[in-house]
Symmetry: C2
Subunit: 382 residues, 2 copies
């Protein structure tokens, strides 16, 4: 037992993991040894889920079977859709609505009594949750617009089906591919706070619905999942200001404002995920002919780089580009963090199952700094 | 950065806290310096909440104002009660139903847009959650019985009102006092897994509904909140067996069964909470004239003590007595863990607010044990 306080558990090793590795010095991210760039460009999100959950990339046959199972689980019970509508009517925020809906899904789980130590059953439950999250989110967004939910199309990929359920029309190839890449890029990232939350919950042998519900809660925090939304709001603000983006950023920094989308606890160089999303933003801009967000982000990144931020280890992170990518796909800004959850749920489930294979209840200590031996005085003598 | 793996974070100090201190060697538990025995015997659960949340025991005037505020927040929106009924109809387990209901409560929070750094607002939200949990749980239990919910009675204490909403009749003095004590005894206990879950979630500046929802999820795990239920199920099993309790335990241990309610990661001696609940079980048994559970638990504890378990640091813990206390109060066995949550929510909220006063995002590391530099092979070449 050490008496050193480990604030934020920074640098503390709590587990061994085969799942992902981040080298923040060189800007490298791997899932099970595979470079994120190879996976984003060469594999679908379904392949990445398979890799994270079952240990290796699938063959074509394995992938077809797995993708079909996943697609078959997309339908959500009417009771849950009804509650989603109620939440939308009550003006609930999307992450809170997702937290409630995922928690509620457990009431319709076909294997509620599976032994918590049966990790195959946990993966099946996790697959059901992963399949249903897009359905729930699209239904919530449509309910906010006063529209009925659109039933999932089992012939579409996980990514394309979500865009279809959201908008009612099948996405074009560039959009579907870009969104699939975004899901892959966000699927896992070591023991970030939401993944660690899911692991702590899983360490009690609570079921995976509890772990995912907790992960959604953690991701909803402004210090975790909300940064891509912040970036987009800055871009909207710049757009509304009629200022040149670089001038706007210069003025904002002089006013002491932090520009979101730069800097990361782990990366000292440009986030590898940012590089890929920048390319996709370029593709989307070319495809649509609207280069506004691309122009803005490129100009801001160039200016901040000229200001020497990179030398200080403050480089563009994944959030700097994901916001404008999502905006280009027609996704409302307060759905960005829920989309992050839609992807990261794959990592949460993989980490919980991996941790439970050699489980140990997580119970740290606090250094007690309160009073010693307080004298109790009954209330009427206080 | 150390390369030592901290399994279960055992012994790792993650925070400083004035809230509670456990001395497992001598069997002492204090909340802000006050011995748990003084609090259980001399203070109500409302006083204990005030102590945990605001730093000191209230004067009569402060308590009256606080208790009135708490009582005024007991009503739950009809939409939530409707969902609770739906969950009961779907056969949802009580802890999962509570998780969903608490998450859903946030949609009806009157201060949804309060700044997450406004910790007074967080305490007000926490007070609302704490006030509403008994209402939700009683409604769920009654819905399972095919009964309508009973509206809270603001003239009753937190403890008495719950028993009233559950059964439809006001509890007698011994029952109300015993249940109030049980709530006090479970209100806080250092950085147990559910409290730590709430802190990790809070460290992202997610709102307190996320922290409490996560805490409920963690508490639902069999390694955390479920042990008093296990004890009671053993007592029922003994009762159904027609064996003498000591003979039953002897046979069970010969068959390699662990007897639940003995041993604790923190306590090496008899849990101070167990001592107090044992007394209350005695009071309840005298009051009802039914001494069965008291006889069983006393006999089992005596036998296991004679077998030298105490010398091995395996002593009765709080769960060994709380089950039979709750059974004597007419509470169904699968509601014991939800009742634990009803009490511990006070500690969760206190810890989150204390942590957020000097917040640091919690993000530990995993030692990467996966493959290095895996070669990516496109799917059709695998």
């Amino acid at each position: 037992m050490s008496d050193e306080l480990k604030r934020g558990l920074e640098g503390v090793l709590v587990a061994e993991s085969d799942l992902s590795y981040v080298d923040g010095e060189v800007g490298k991210l791997v899932y099970r040894g595979h470079d994120i760039e190879d996976l984003a460009r060469g594999a679908s999100y379904e392949e990445v889920l398979y890799l994270l959950w079952y240990g290796s990339l699938p063959t074509r046959e394995e992938l077809d079977a797995f993708a079909a199972e996943l697609a078959a689980e997309r339908e959500v019970d009417d009771d849950v859709l009804e509650t989603v509508r109620t939440l939308a009517d009550a003006g609930e925020r999307p992450m809170a609505a997702l937290r409630t809906a995922v928690s509620m899904l457990s009431a319709y789980e076909p294997e509620p009594d599976a032994d918590p130590e049966d990790l195959d059953a946990t993966l099946r439950k996790g697959r059901r949750i992963t399949a249903k999250i897009p359905t729930v989110l699209a239904a919530f967004e449509r309910a906010r617009q006063g529209e009925d939910p659109i039933a999932p199309d089992p012939d579409l990929s996980h990514a394309a089906n979500f865009l279809y359920m959201l908008t009612g029309s099948e996405p074009d190839a560039v959009s579907a591919e870009t969104f699939d890449m975004a899901l892959t890029l966000h699927a896992d990232h070591g023991l970030n706070a939401s993944t660690f939350t899911a692991i702590v919950i899983g360490s009690t042998m609570a079921d995976i619905y509890s772990g995912v519900t907790g992960g959604i809660g953690a991701l909803s925090g402004s210090l975790h999942g909300g940064a891509n939304q912040d970036v987009m709001e800055v871009l909207y603000e710049i757009d509304a200001s009629d200022k040149d983006p670089v001038e706007w950023v210069k003025d904002a920094r002089e006013d002491g404002r932090r520009i979101p989308g730069f800097g990361h606890r782990v990366y000292a160089v440009k986030d590898p995920r940012a590089k890929i999303l920048e390319e996709k933003l370029r593709d989307l801009s070319e495809s649509s002919g609207d280069t506004k967000w691309l122009d803005y982000t490129t100009a801001i990144e160039g200016y901040l780089t000229d200001q020497g931020l990179l030398e200080k280890g403050i480089a563009p992170n994944v959030d700097f580009y994901s916001g404008s990518v999502y905006d280009s796909l027609g996704i409302p800004v307060d759905m960005y963090t829920p989309i992050f959850a839609m992807s990261r749920v794959g990592g949460w489930i993989a980490h919980v199952v991996e941790y439970q294979e050699d489980n140990r209840l997580i119970r740290p200590r606090a250094r007690y700094t309160g009073p010693e031996d307080a004298t109790f005085v009954p209330i009427d003598e206080r």
